[in-house]
């Protein structure tokens, strides 16, 4: 049998050789190799460079603070008239970090919409691979919902599955190596909003099950429930614990990836770190978030 030559292998080999040459040319940590085009000429030279990890972290995670320190003002796009109109209604211009967050959420939404439309268009009786993955996610989460809430409460499945897929895509999208891409869950506002949504769903369920007056007596009537003040604090801490867990995991992973990849000059190691902190921790945290939301709802239903 003739051995088939793999063209991809050749391309990988060429990249590997180029990478080895670049690594050996780039010298030590205080010097950096500059490759590119300058004044229509190809440039390959060693330059002195100053690397400050603190500045890098500030630029990556606190872009508003970075702009304030270096006196960078965001550009105004569009006409002055629209800008004035917006300024009249919403006050001073929005900080750039918020804009980045909104853009990332928009990208996540577009990805989810595209996935939904694509899979719905190619829905088959004999499922394809992508359809199989989503059916697997849906059926396994539906199983969890019916286990915790009971058969007749299976109408909570779409909410739980949406929560899982949204958080999972949010955690995965930070691994795409495009400058400016970040996980939306890295900003505290997104997990906090999701946590508030979970608590609102929990109370809505409780009101639906027990009636509004009977439910709120738990929080305002000290005769019926002597620990009613503690219960109010407990509701607050539910939001904090469920959202800070997600936020801290994702932010800590991102900071560790940044710090370690600054130590090893972007060779191979960050790939493994992304595999762990991006894929593993991201999937686990999305799963934990949905499971906790499910148990919060289940406690109210079983009472």
């Amino acid at each position: 049998m003739a051995k088939k030559k793999n063209p991809m292998l050749k391309i990988f080999l060429i990249f590997f050789i180029i990478e080895i040459i670049l690594v050996f040319l780039s010298g030590n940590f205080s010097r950096q190799l500059q490759v590119g085009f300058e004044n229509k000429k190809f440039v390959l030279r060693n330059i002195e460079f100053h690397y400050d990890l603190q500045d890098e972290i500030t630029e990556e995670f606190q872009i508003d603070e970075y702009n304030r320190q270096n006196n960078i003002t965001p550009d105004v796009y569009g006409s002055e008239k629209i800008y004035d109109l917006f300024k009249r209604f919403f006050g001073a211009p929005t900080a750039l970090g918020t804009f980045q967050l909104l853009r990332m959420i928009l990208i996540v939404d577009i990805v989810l919409l595209f996935m939904a439309l694509y899979i719905r268009k190619h829905l088959l009786a004999r499922p394809s691979k992508s359809q199989l993955i989503f059916e697997l996610i849906y059926t396994s989460l539906e199983e969890f919902v019916t286990e915790t809430l009971g058969k007749e409460k299976a109408n909570y499945t779409p909410y739980i599955v949406t929560l899982f897929i949204f958080i999972w895509v949010c955690n995965m999208i930070g691994m795409i190596p495009i400058p400016g891409f970040m996980e939306p869950t890295r900003n505290l506002n997104v997990p906090l909003g999701l946590g508030f949504m979970v608590v609102i769903v929990v109370h809505f369920t409780a009101i639906k099950m027990k009636g509004a007056w009977k439910h709120f007596q738990n929080y305002i009537n000290p005769i019926k429930n002597p620990l009613c003040l503690l219960d109010i604090v407990g509701e607050m801490s539910k939001v904090v614990s469920i959202s800070f867990r997600l936020f801290g995991n994702i932010l800590g992973g991102a900071i560790i990836i940044l710090v370690v990849s600054s130590l090893v000059s972007f060779v191979v190691f960050p790939v493994g770190l992304n595999l762990f902190f991006g894929m593993f921790v991201g999937t686990i945290q999305a799963f934990v978030f949905t499971m906790l939301a499910l148990t919060y709802i289940g406690v109210e239903i079983s009472e």
């Binding site: 500030t58 867990r245 900071i255 799963f287």
Partner: protein, 83 residues
């Protein structure tokens, strides 16, 4: 970055506090996660046919018990970056 003496003391104590916060906050989750993993090993040894279920439950339990460590991480980051 020019700092006065008081600002320098505040910054230094914040950094020291961040290190202490992270080191002490990592103790509890480390012990807890190790405990959960050990119990899961015992469970798998007793009933190997339930290995996947036990592993899944173990991962969720570890992620929940990790949360105190994550809170200390958030507080350490606040101490480092916002003083």
């Amino acid at each position: 970055m020019d700092l006065t003496l008081a600002q320098g003391i505040v910054k230094a104590s914040a950094l020291l506090g961040a290190g202490l916060c992270m080191g002490m906050g990592a103790l509890g989750p480390g012990v807890g996660e190790g405990f959960v993993a050990g119990k899961a090993c015992e469970g798998i040894a007793r009933s190997p046919e339930n290995a996947s279920l036990i592993t899944r439950t173990m991962l969720v339990g570890q992620a929940v018990s990790e949360s105190t460590g994550i809170y200390s991480l958030v507080i350490a980051l606040l101490l480092i970056f916002s003083t």
